[in-house]
């Protein structure tokens, strides 16, 4: 199925510096094209939510950004460095938690951080700072094999924060956590840009999570970027709709037709009105007056903007599972 491709939207004016960018990046696995010339720009200071259905190419994009896969074409730049030409300089400003929090279960949390610290060649004092950031100092000397998943996620995050990165890449950071763990992790992520100054690029299969956390969003489907911009820009892309509860329905329908709402969705005496042209507050007020003049009883009339899920479903063209 060919999907409509929206032009990528640029970040807002106060976030002009781009920390991570993809330029026409293509990655193929044999005949399968996982990324089809994607363009993305992640502005400094943003929490960037990366959304897409299963198999859309999110993890492939993240693996490309971490230098684990080399794209067949295109360029990835991190902090001004070309990843293909200056891998070490580019990755020096990145911390990442990819998929599950991959830690050595035979080592303690502190030893895990020490292994990374030695590989990174940074000062031992940074271990305590990272543990402090994720509130894991007390559990740091226990073996990771004894940790809960939530603790592993936190320790993974501590390891990613170890070298004080400018860009933090999180792949499904709340995956598998219980509700309390999800809440704690979200609070932690939300606080990170202010506490560390890091830009966050996170993928998630939870649309509501992205809606709660992200300032910017990228939508990916079948290896193509459907949208790249702020949540506000995305919301503006979605035509608002009118929710009307009025009766009797036999009298309401002709009024709606006359007002230009030719194909309303009806659920009992509740009508959902969409219009490809425009639904404005003025038009809603005029409809209210017309219903009143026709003797209809209006108990609800409100303008509703689509939530991220609806927008996502609309952009992807169908009700495919979002993950």
């Amino acid at each position: 199925m060919t999907l409509p491709r929206s032009p990528p939207m640029r970040p807002s004016a106060d976030m002009t510096e781009t920390v991570l960018s993809f330029h026409q990046v293509t990655q193929r696995y044999g005949r399968l094209t996982a990324l089809d010339g994607i363009d993305l720009a992640i502005p400094a200071g943003a929490i960037y939510g990366f959304l897409g259905p299963n198999g859309a190419g999110k993890t492939t994009a993240i693996r490309c950004a971490m230098g684990l896969l080399r794209p067949q074409s295109g360029r990835i730049r991190i902090g001004g460095h070309d990843l293909a030409r200056s891998r070490r300089q580019a990755l020096a400003s990145v911390g990442a938690v990819i998929e599950t929090p991959a830690l050595f279960p035979n080592l303690t949390g502190r030893e895990n951080l020490d292994v990374s610290r030695r590989l990174l060649g940074i000062a031992p004092a940074l271990i305590d700072r990272a543990l402090e950031l994720v509130d894991m100092r007390e559990a740091a000397d226990r073996r990771v094999g004894q940790y809960s998943l939530g603790m592993k996620q936190r320790m993974g995050l501590a390891r990613a924060l170890l070298a004080e990165p400018k860009l933090l890449i999180l792949d499904e950071p709340t995956n598998g956590l219980d509700p309390a763990g999800i809440r704690d992790m979200r609070a932690l992520i939300r606080a990170l840009p202010e506490r560390t100054g890091a830009t966050i690029f996170m993928s998630s299969h939870l649309l509501s999570e992205i809606e709660q956390l992200a300032s910017h969003v990228g939508l990916l489907q079948k290896g193509r970027v459907l949208f790249d911009g702020t949540l506000e820009d995305l919301s503006r892309q979605q035509t608002p709709r009118l929710i009307l509860t009025a009766g009797p329905p036999e009298q309401v329908a002709p009024v709606l037709h006359a007002a230009g709402f030719a194909d309303p969705i009806r659920e009992g005496d509740r009508f959902i009105l969409t219009d490809p042209v425009a639904i404005t507050p003025e038009r809603a007020a005029a409809l209210n007056a017309a219903l009143h003049d026709a003797g209809c009883q209006v108990s609800e009339l409100r303008l509703e903007r689509a939530d991220l899920e609806t927008t996502f479903m609309t952009l992807t063209g169908h009700g495919e599972e979002a993950a």
Binding site: R63, L68, I98, T100, P105, N106, L107, E111, V115, S116
Partner: protein, 241 residues
């Protein structure tokens, strides 16, 4: 590079790798002590030393290589830490070189421990057994020479097993190749072409013809260094998707 090496060595802490590394010397010690104490002691120290080295070269060395390289690789494969390790701003060749050096270092320690266990097993066996004697004296230089050259001749097998273990997430590939190689080696011990079979190179150090041993040491040593170098280069450059 020192930091990378320490980091790789740290990963071994409290791991199964260390337990498996302790197994060969314990086995050699227990077997040697029992044999000597039961009155079946070799006639002299030289035979005892060579017999211990033969058990090591034929069976325990290749099995130790299989187990240790696979377990060292599983430290990364198991919790899926490759993505983290290889996404760090560290030259990948340094990571793989450090892993190779840690594997080789551990094999060297196990070799030395087996040599020591062979000697001490006889000492303990002689104490435990009544009227048990062995002629001559323990020749430490002979043991050092045998185990040292076996280590060098075994480098090619170590390189092959290490490469397979690093490359494949599953145990199956390195373990099946290793066990297959060991059994073929047992069957082909006296075969003329067996000289060129990597799993027989450590065994050929014991060959009565000096040239056969020298060739095994040269091929095993040089071949091992070449395979290690190529493997490090290849693993550093490949995609880790």
């Amino acid at each position: 590079m020192i930091n990378v090496l320490i980091a790789e060595a740290t990963k071994l802490r409290r791991s199964l790798v260390l337990l498996v590394a302790a197994t060969p010397p314990v086995m050699v010690f227990a077997l040697g002590a029992l044999v000597v104490a039961s009155g079946n002691a070799p006639e002299d120290w030289r035979v005892h030393t060579v017999a211990g080295a033969a058990i090591w070269a034929f069976f325990l060395l290749p099995m130790s290589v299989i187990g240790l390289t696979a377990l060292i690789a599983q430290l990364e494969h198991g919790p899926n830490t490759w993505s983290h390790t290889l996404a760090l701003p560290v030259p990948r060749w340094q990571v793989f070189l450090a892993k190779a050096l840690v594997s080789l270092g551990l094999m060297a320690v196990v070799s030395a421990a087996v040599a020591l266990a062979s000697w001490t097993s006889a000492l303990v066996g002689l104490q435990l057994g009544s009227e048990v004697e062995m002629a001559g004296q323990y020749d430490a230089m002979l043991a050092l020479r045998l185990y040292g050259w076996m280590f060098v001749a075994g480098l090619l097998v170590m390189a092959i097993q290490w490469t397979l273990a690093m490359r494949f997430r599953s145990f199956a590939a390195p373990v099946s190749v290793g066990i297959g190689g060991t059994f073929v080696a047992v069957a082909a011990t006296s075969a003329e072409k067996g000289l060129y079979f990597p799993w027989l190179m450590p065994v050929n150090v014991l060959a009565s013809e000096g040239s056969r041993g020298d060739l095994a040491i040269a091929m095993g040593g040089i071949g091992g260094v070449i395979v290690f170098a190529l493997a490090i280069l290849w693993l550093s450059r490949r995609d880790w998707g």
